[in-house]
C-alpha cells in the first residue's frame, strides 16, 4: 500500500462515518430520542475539523 493514499483512505472513512451518523441522527429524531440526535449531530460536526486535520497532515506525504 502506497503511503500517499493514506489521506484519501482516512477521508473516505470519515465520510463513511458521516453518512452513518447522519442516518442515525435522522432516525433517532423521528423516534423522538432527542439526546441521541444531539450526540450524533455533534459527532458529525466534530468529524469536519478532523477531516481538515487529516488533509493537512497527509497532503504532503511522499510515496
Amino acid at each position: 500500500m502506497k503511503r500517499r493514499y493514506l489521506g484519501v483512505l482516512i477521508l473516505a472513512a470519515i465520510l463513511m462515518m458521516n453518512i452513518v451518523f447522519t442516518q442515525y441522527m435522522v432516525h433517532q429524531y423521528y423516534y423522538e430520542n432527542y439526546e441521541n440526535v444531539l450526540i450524533f449531530g455533534g459527532l458529525n460536526i466534530v468529524l469536519f475539523p478532523l477531516a481538515v486535520f487529516a488533509y493537512k497532515k497527509t497532503i504532503n506525504m511522499r510515496a
Binding site: 493514499y5 458521516n18 447522519t22 444531539l38 458529525n44 469536519f48
Partner: protein, 174 residues
Amino acid sequence: MSDKNNKIPFNEDNYTHNIERNNERKLDRRGFMKTLVGAAGVFAVSSLPWGAVAAKELMGLGEKEYPHKKITDVSNLPIGDAVEFKFPGDHDDAILIRLSENKYVAYQNACTHLRCPVFWVKEQGEMICPCHHGKFDVETGAPTAGPPRRPLPEIQVKVENGSIYAVRVKRYEA
C-alpha cells in the same frame, strides 16, 4: 498621431496573462481530498438544524398544546369505517378509525417508511401503505409487515356531545 495603441502594453509574464489551461479539469489527489473535506463540511453544517430542533424539543418548547380539533360527528362514522383529517397542522394527515361502539383509534397516517398515506382496509382489519406494502397494526400503530420500522404516531381522541375531537399527538414511550 501618437503611437500609443501600437505598443505591446506589457510583457506576457504577469498575473493576468499567465493562465495555464492545460489539464485544468483534471482531478488530482489533492483536489479529490479537498472535495472529501468539503463533503465532511456539508455534513457538519447540515447536522446543525437537526440538533437545533432536537435541543428545542429537549427544552420542552415542542410540547405545546394544540387546540382540540373536531374531526367528525359520531353519527357520521359507522363502526369499522375510517375518516381522514388533519392534525395538528393543516398539512399533517391523520386517520381516525372506529373499531367498535366506543373504541376509536387515530394515527398520523404518513407512513414511517417514506411518508406515503396509510389507509384503512376494513375487510382485512389492517392499515396498509400502498407504496411498498407496509402494514400497521390498527390497535397500536406498530408496523407488522413491509419496510416500516417505526410505529405510526398515535393521536389521542375524545368524544364529547356526539362529536369526536383530536386532543394531542402521543409521544413514543422512551
